[in-house]
Amino acid sequence: MISANLSAIFYLISGILFILALRGLSSPETSRQGNLFGILGMIIAITVTFLTVGNFSTSTIYVFIFLLVGGAIGAFIAFKIPMTAMPELVAGFHSLVGLAAVFVAISAFLNPDAFNLGSPGDIKLASLIEMSIGAAVGAITFSGSIIAFLKLRGIMSGSPITFSGQHILNLLIGISIIVLIYFLCSSQSENFFWSMIAISFLIGVLLIIPIGGADMPVVISMLNSYSGWAAAGIGFTLENTALIITGALVGSSGAILSYIMCKGMNRSFFSVILGGFGGDASKGQEKKKDQKPVKSGNAEDAAFLLKNASSVIIVPGYGMAVAQAQHALREMVDTLKKNDIKVSYAVHPVAGRMPGHMNVLLAEANVPYDEVFELDDINNDFANTDVAFVIGANDVTNPVAKTDPQSPIFGMPVLDVEKCKSVLFVKRSLSPGYAGVDNELFYRENTMMLFADAKKMTEDIVKNI
């Protein structure tokens, strides 16, 4: 048994180690060390908790058993999961943090003595508010992440589900959560607590269903942020510094990522959250189709163009992830490099389904990270490049975003691929991307469409070079 003061110091240390864990991610060189700091912080926090509780009894053994069971499941998932499934894995993990927060809050509500919060029916007001916030945010994180998971996994359609009065309904539910917390505080009645949690689960579902597939980077970051605030809420209840610091870190981290993602799409956070974007895809542009000529080619033509280029920029997108084409792509690039062709990669901030999605896939395929560039760093290079090889990206290359103020994607930062001497566009069909906007690039003189599965096409090109 160690004193409360000593354990508070240790919790502070683990909070600092968590800060260092995030700090380490500022460069790939220091990132692994950072992760070790994070693990160390976690070990300290758990050990100190055992020592503070002190009485080693049969339940301690059960705690270890449950810890190991959970740990084994987690480790199994971590080793088995393919890198392409990372977005749904992260969404799934968020849901677990949310649910754990709900459970801890329930436990604290039922047995407040154990946490020094008063006695059942007479819980300190501040603690009651804190645990209610923790439970509500946790519940929203849980059910919201489950919906995000189902959408990312493809079990649920990625298209937005909207109905009239949706926003008003959400608003009413939001207000009733606050009202229930108020009644809970004044009456200490269990019923208010349970109903508050139940409708929090409900609103989590309602908040995420209207948000479409390609807005998922924002959703995942937002849920990441929520899971942090839930943890912080519980941290206040438990008066635990490690939890408060971590909750604040994670909360602000998720918020920043959401901001970066919104900026990458030139959309306000609220327009993403209110959802419904991309809902009326394929309405406006049907008539225009088939009128403009499209130049399409096969693997041989593409190989010819690539072989005779002296510089190539690869623009990967979600389609590459779906087709799992990253390894084939890397093979193609290796072949090109052998022919003394300069190759780099251009990654748009919202390419894929989560922040950094493309970078991880390229890393998996052993692409050196110093060949992968962010939008701002590479956009000027397109003008001096022979071939842009667009694989599975669409909206992020659409020049309409720069020229047509009427377009829904106007103002979104895009990669200037059209400035290259020629553009190779690997895509299965001419269908518009997520935003429902026809890509003007398809009809340009210097564009050659390669209609095929991204992986198969890339492999065929390798054979032909």
Binding site: I81, I244, Y369
Partner: protein, 103 residues
């Protein structure tokens, strides 16, 4: 007049938000996915509350409802801790391999 301890915790909270703000802006965009998985793992420090909840015994019965919720939370958080840190490590390992492979 004495200051409520809540204010101290609140100060820590606000300062940590600022620390988080500056630290996260310095994270390189190519590591944003590992950032998400590692924040996931560290937010599972909520296991601390779960352990307290599971070990609390007022009546001598270690499987009171409140304990059971504690145990369940331990499992969930443990999945996250091990899964989160290991998958982060796995990803970061890929960023290393490439450096060696560079010919």
């Amino acid at each position: 007049m004495e200051i409520d301890p809540f204010i101290f915790r609140f100060s820590i909270f606000i300062l940590a938000i600022f620390v988080g703000y500056y630290v996260v802006w310095s994270v390189t965009p190519s590591l944003h996915t590992p950032l998400m998985s590692v924040t996931n793992a560290i937010s599972s420090v909520i296991i601390v509350g779960a352990i307290i909840a599971a070990l609390a015994s007022s009546s001598g019965n270690i499987f009171e409802i409140s304990n059971i919720f504690g145990f369940l939370a331990i499992v969930l958080a443990a999945v996250n801790i091990f899964g989160g840190f290991l998958v982060t490590q796995r990803m970061l390992q890929m960023y290393k391999k490439k450096k060696k492979n560079k010919k």
